[in-house]
């Protein structure tokens, strides 16, 4: 079993955690969810690990999101971790604001659009995105088109509002 876990880790852990971090904005959560996903994969090894792992991870994010929504507001990551940055404070703040703006824009997407976008960013093919998210293959292009446009427009709108306020 250890070999199986090691193999799964080698193949998918980095990609899965990166996707989860982009999705949640919180590295600790990303790590914890990834661990839970791999634990479940150990209990019931999937025949097709990649879509399985990512589908389960996204389901856990959704479950946890609903739970957390009742309990607390998520902290903005860059504020918490800014002291560890090697950047100058103003530089770190600028970059942190950009990350926060992108995350705000990403949060405005529907879950399906957001997940499709993040899976595509992990190198998923349309076929893999379709199977992971339960979409028809023919709907993936439309989904990604809508997701990309929405993300860019929401980001631009946020930046516009920010500029107007400052």
């Amino acid at each position: 079993m250890t070999d199986q876990v090691a193999e799964l880790f080698r193949e998918y852990h980095g990609s899965l955690v990166r996707m989860l971090m982009r999705r949640t904005g919180d590295r600790d959560r990303a790590e914890e969810i990834a661990q839970e996903v791999f634990a479940r994969a150990v209990v019931a090894p999937p025949r097709n690990p990649r879509p399985w792992l990512f589908a389960v991870a996204l389901n856990l994010v959704r479950e946890e999101g609903r739970r957390r929504a009742r309990q607390e507001r998520r902290l903005v990551l860059y504020k918490a971790e800014q002291p560890t940055s090697a950047l100058r404070p103003d530089e770190a703040l600028d970059r942190g604001e950009r990350i926060a703006s992108v995350r705000d824009a990403l949060d405005q997407l529907s879950e399906r659009d957001r997940d499709a976008l993040l899976l595509k960013a992990e190198g998923f093919s349309y076929d893999d995105i379709a199977s992971t998210l339960g979409l028809a293959r023919g709907a993936v292009g439309t989904t990604l088109s809508r997701a990309r446009r929405k993300l860019v427009e929401a980001y631009r709108a946020g930046e516009g509002a920010h500029d107007a306020a400052s």
């Binding site: 876990v5 880790f9 080698r10 193949e11 852990h13 980095g14 990609s15 955690v17 990166r18 971090m21 982009r22 990303a30 661990q35 791999f38 634990a39 479940r40 994969a41 150990v42 209990v43 090894p45 999937p46 097709n48 990649r50 399985w52 589908a55 389960v56 389901n59 959704r62 990551l77 971790e81 800014q82 950047l87 942190g96 990350i99 992108v102 995350r103 990403l106 976008l117 993040l118 595509k120 960013a121 992990e122 190198g123 998923f124 349309y126 076929d127 893999d128 379709a130 199977s131 992971t132 998210l133 339960g134 993936v140 292009g141 439309t142 990604l144 088109s145 990309r148 860019v152 980001y155």
Partner: protein, 314 residues
Amino acid sequence: MPHLDDGLIHELLDGEVPSDRLPPIQAHLASCAACQARLDEERELMAESDQLIEALDDVSVATPALLPDIAPAPRRAAEWPRQLAWAASLALAVGLGYTAGGGLRAPDTVVDGLTAPSATTSSLDDRSAEAVAEEPAGPPPVASQAVPARERGTAATGVAGAGAAAPTAAPPQAAAERAAVAVDSMARRERADEARRDAALAPGRSEPVAQANRLAAARELVSEQDVAAKAALAADREVAGVAVGVPEGPLWRIVGTEPLRTEYAGDAVRLVYRHSLGEVVLVQRRVGTEMGWRLEVPPGFPADSLSALQGRVR
């Protein structure tokens, strides 16, 4: 042919339109300025969207010390300039001609000089844990997608560890990170124990006790693996500090054809070849004193000519 809709335009730009569907699309684009303009507009939109996603990985701001295992992004599509993506989409139509003209003669499945591929074609496993209940049940054809750079790094680490590349003396920082990981692991193990105890004390819950125990044991196992993986990553970074950059000595190549482009991803070099079935990537990475390699091919490659392509890597 009607105007191209947004979905088709993105499918086209992502290189996901099958070659047999391309001719009428090409013909329409050649005669429709409006669709051509839309194509250009969407190409810019995609580039901007990719940049925004990658901005989330700004490790200098958003991540603590051990983040290198999840950075940088793989950018399979993003590494492919949109113009090239479009050009390559069109080129698919002549891919067979390329093959007949002395390119890659026979399609192969993954050939691996570093690690074994995980090639499967089966459906999602519906016997798995409860979280899968919500997951799609359709049969997912697996794509042997390019493995993100960091994964390749970790995969190769095992090989490097067996060879001469594993460091013998870790710098203090790496040791401190490993210690931090160990502490983290202890905390996680305690949580796993706690979960197991909770499960044992609450047999009336929907999750059966046996299942809870199996899951708790698995969590512990995964936690240990996580520690091992991070320790390996810390060591790998020390190796990578030496190995990053243009490799010394000649690169492996597929004889008889020229690469479409060369990419540098972390400490790996990727020679990308065009094939009628998609891109074939010869990934190479320093392993000890030599360059290890592996081939990545698109899904759907028949396996019977594996040795033919492997034999052409020189």
